[in-house]
């Protein structure tokens, strides 16, 4: 945006791999911390856990109301 002139003094052959490499390292670090400090990411990788179907608590209205005599 406004720092384009940096490439006049920093060789992009060096600067761009440095920039992209730092992004990649940051991403690896964040994912590593998530693996170690959450339960759901290891569980996701473990797999085999099917979500239980939600128990139907809704009873049909006709069955609950006694028939009027």
């Amino acid at each position: 945006m406004n720092q384009g002139k940096i490439w006049r003094v920093v060789n992009p052959t060096v600067g761009i791999p440095l920039f992209l490499g730092s992004v990649a390292l940051t991403s690896l670090f964040v994912h590593y911390q998530l693996i170690n400090h959450t339960t759901w990411l290891p569980a996701y990788y473990q797999g085999g856990q099917k979500a239980k179907p939600v128990a139907t608590a809704v009873v049909a209205p006709d069955a609950s109301t006694p028939a009027k005599q």
């Binding site: 490439w7 006049r8 060789n11 992009p12 761009i16 992004v23 759901w40």
Partner: protein, 58 residues
């Protein structure tokens, strides 16, 4: 700056120490910024999905 230095700095075809001209440097930066923005938008979408599945700090 001397007149010659000013003219050198303004010269659009001047090749700077990195080997690029000013226009090339700006063009490179524009592409880098666009790519960074695309990466950021994908990351935002991923965070929204992650929060919906497993909210944090709640």
């Amino acid at each position: 700056m001397t007149d010659k230095e000013k003219r050198m700095a303004d010269d659009p075809s001047r090749v700077w120490p990195s080997g690029l001209t000013t226009a090339e440097a700006e063009e490179l930066q524009a592409g880098l910024v666009d790519g960074t923005r695309v990466f950021f938008m994908i990351a935002v979408i991923a965070h929204i999905l992650a929060f919906a599945y497993s909210p944090w700090l709640k």
